[in-house]
């Protein structure tokens, strides 16, 4: 297997391209700064607000007038079971992502690499399932899941989430696999690889960016799902984080617990982003090293 080298996966362009001088570099950093501010400014507002006291939560000062951990204390108050809820979200989102990827890779491989009729119709049917408005799915599914005893189970949350995740995975991965040259696999097979090995060692690593991106997007999407999780589960032991947030309370029925909601938003978002960044490095490295072995 020595003659086959996959086209280098470009993680970064060559340094030479930055030759244009400092003017362009400055311009680029200005652009980066704009992007960072654009993305983070609202998040900053959430962060600052989470450190305000509930009394002055509507202040417009750029830093809290009085710093307070009141909101965080409320989030992690034992009665909210927020820790459990985070764990549940992790379970649901991970399984959804894993299933969507496995099914998506299978399907995408078939569509992109195998010869059989009606490919377009199959893709059309797959994507058609993402066309039904989410809010209209709830009552029929509740009826169905009550009848088959799925209320208060993880699968009642995982399976509906797949209706977004699978079409995305199938479509996106099909595009990726389509773009990779056939000769790669062929050559691998000439070298004695089985079809499976050719798939695992050549094709999959090359599609890694696509697989990984699909994973991030479906993970976050299912992590943020609310209405299905709320309707299918009423046992606090398996409720997810978004549902737990909706049950935070203010001092009265009218007083939304803004501080706690913002704090929970921060608590949910930051570990997620860090985790994704760590995983990204690991997974991309793992897959690409497999390719050159």
């Amino acid at each position: 297997m020595t003659t086959i080298t996959a086209p280098t996966v470009r993680t970064a362009p060559p340094a030479k391209r930055r030759r244009k001088g400092t003017g362009a570099a400055v311009l680029r950093y200005v652009g980066i700064a704009i992007v960072a501010v654009y993305c983070l400014a609202p998040f900053y507002w959430m962060l600052v607000s989470s450190f305000r006291r509930s009394g002055d939560i509507f202040d417009n000062s750029l830093l809290p007038t009085t710093w307070s951990l009141e909101s965080y204390a409320q989030v992690f108050d034992s009665s909210t079971m927020f820790g459990t809820a985070l764990l549940n979200s992790l379970i649901v989102a991970s399984i959804t992502t894993a299933l969507a990827l496995v099914l998506g890779i299978f399907a995408a491989y078939a569509i992109a690499r195998l010869n059989f009729p009606f490919k377009s119709s199959i893709l059309a049917i797959v994507i058609a399932t993402s066309m039904f408005p989410g809010i209209s799915v709830v009552v029929p599914l509740l009826r169905l899941f009550s009848d088959i005893g799925w209320i208060n189970t993880y699968q009642a949350m995982i399976v509906p989430s797949l209706s977004f995740a699978i079409p995305l995975a199938v479509w996106n991965l099909t595009t990726f696999m389509k773009q990779l040259p056939f000769e790669l696999e062929q050559a691998a097979m000439i070298d004695g690889c089985t079809k499976w090995q050719a798939f695992r060692l050549v094709l999959l690593p090359l599609a890694a960016p696509g697989v990984f991106t699909t994973a991030i997007l479906t993970f976050i999407h299912s992590w943020n799902e609310f209405i299905i999780a709320l309707s299918m589960v009423n046992d606090p032991a398996i409720q997810t984080a978004t549902v737990a947030i909706s049950k935070f309370t203010g001092a009265s029925d009218f007083q939304a617990p803004y501080g706690a909601q913002m704090a929970a938003g921060v608590v949910v978002t930051i570990p997620l982003v860090i985790m994704i960044l760590l995983f990204q490095r690991r997974i991309v490295e793992g897959l690409t090293s497999g390719a050159t072995k």
Binding site: R53, S54, G55, D56, F58, T66, S79, V138, V139, L142, R143, L144, S146, D147, I148, I151, L230, S231, N234, P236, V243, S246, K247, F248, T249, G250, A251, S252, D253, F254, Q255, A256, P257
Partner: protein, 438 residues
């Protein structure tokens, strides 16, 4: 015409063809005999564990009552199913459960305005009146728990409108008493706003965003002008001089600047914030804001500078609507006898008194409102009682959702100047007539 009595067999049949692999058999066979419909006056039977389905309660007071019950009744445990804080989402969950005739919900904590809808759809069962000391309750709360003179809920806690005023500024301007009429309120504002320290302030605000709060504020204005939204027979009466006076009070208020422009985006919390920041002389709000205004940690700009009174009206004290919650038994519940016992226990005077230590929700027993210990903790109680004795329920119609939506559509259009008040009321009369006619 083919009639279909909520029979799911056909749906199931179609679905079975498509998803042959899925066992849907449970869909067509009935797992329980059809649930006893509410209102038939049948015995409430069955004992065992039940679920209490309710909005969350941050104070821990409700949890305390439940714990006490569970300790005393090991065989009839109550499990609290917490719903989201948002009332619309609570209703949606309960309606969904009724759609699938779910047995998991036993006792429902219902907003007073949902009572008619749930009763008329037979989602909740009739309650025996002799199980509750109803004559010790504030009459308006019992009325709000009944549908067509039949009791469907046990009053749990109540709510009414209060007028908050900046007593410091009123004193400075030489206004001795809180206003009882709209004209007096305007006059008081004129005096206060002339003061240098009142620069930049506005006179009055309530809740005017397109939301339940707008229905509340409009129906209070109509009541305060001597009218009502529906007559005793349930026919809409909004195309009347009284309703026009009421709507004009609000529309003119926005036009003259008595009500600040941004109040069109106010729900309860935005108004609280504006008053607390010292931007308003008067505010119509619920009792809950009292605690925020009295906060001594520096977050309240009006601590010690405000007073409460009953809301003003056209020619005398105004008419409040009534808010609050009732407990009811789901028609599809299994252990209804236990559910009834639990409700009786939970809403008893003894439990209300215990909860008062932790919670600031207003009790439904009249005796508390003059009770020394209670009024010390919640100083607004006497004023609230005054407000509640004069209160009118919001429209008690079955299609409450459509009714409140129609009110919000038309009144919001009038407040934003999209329609003249006359047109808005005429259109509202038509819309309400259509909603209630069938």
């Amino acid at each position: 015409m083919k009639q279909r009595r909520h029979d799911r067999r056909t749906v199931a049949g179609i679905a079975m063809m498509a998803t042959a692999a899925i066992a849907l058999s449970a869909c067509s066979g009935s797992t329980t005999p059809p649930a006893e419909s509410g209102g038939s006056g049948t015995e409430l039977e069955g004992r065992g564990p039940i679920q209490y389905v309710s909005s969350p309660d941050a104070s821990g007071a409700a949890q305390q009552s439940i714990d006490e019950w569970n300790e005393a009744n090991p065989d009839e445990q109550v499990e609290w199913v917490e719903l989201p804080l948002d009332a619309d989402q609570q209703r949606q969950q309960m309606v969904q459960n009724a759609q699938v005739k779910g047995e998991t919900y036993s006792v429902l904590n219902l907003d007073v305005v949902w009572t008619s809808e749930f009763a008329a759809n037979r989602w909740i069962t009739e309650l025996p009146e002799d199980a509750f000391p109803l004559d010790e309750h504030i009459p308006a709360t019992v009325e709000a728990a009944s549908y067509r003179d039949v009791l469907y809920g046990a009053p749990y806690y109540t709510d009414g409108a209060l007028l908050y005023s900046r007593s410091d500024l009123l004193t400075a301007a030489g206004v001795a008493e809180a206003p009882q009429t709209w004209d007096e309120m305007q006059a008081a504002c004129d005096a206060v706003l002339a003061l240098p320290e009142a620069e930049g302030m506005s006179c009055y605000a309530g809740q005017f965003d397109k939301n339940e709060g707008l229905t509340v504020n409009f129906s209070e204005a109509v009541g305060s002008a001597g009218g009502s939204l529906f007559d005793d027979e349930g026919k809409p009466t909004v195309d009347t001089p009284e309703a026009l006076t009421a709507l004009n009070f609000l529309v003119d208020g926005f036009e003259s600047g008595m009500i600040p422009k941004n109040a069109i985006t106010f729900q309860e919390e935005q108004g609280r914030q504006a008053f607390q920041d010292g931007n308003l002389v008067f505010l119509r709000n619920w009792p809950y804001v009292y605690a925020s205004f009295s906060a001594t940690d520096g977050t309240s700009g009006v601590e010690g500078k405000f007073g409460v009174s009953a809301i003003p009206g056209e020619s005398g004290p105004g008419v409040s609507t009534i808010g609050g919650r009732n407990l009811a038994i789901s028609a599809f519940a299994e252990n209804k006898a236990t559910a009834l016992d639990f409700i009786t226990f939970f809403t008893s005077e003894e439990q209300e008194e215990k909860r008062l230590e932790l919670s600031s929700r207003a009790p439904v027993f009249s005796s508390f409102f003059t009770d020394e210990a209670a009024t010390e903790k919640l100083p607004y109680l006497p004023t609230l009682l005054e407000s509640l004795e004069n209160a009118q329920p919001r429209p008690r119609v079955v299609a409450y959702g459509e009714t409140t939506a129609a009110i919000q559509d038309e009144i919001y259009a009038a407040l934003t100047g999209e329609k003249s008040p006359e047109d808005a009321l005429a259109d509202l009369q038509d819309a309400l007539t259509e909603i209630t006619s069938d």
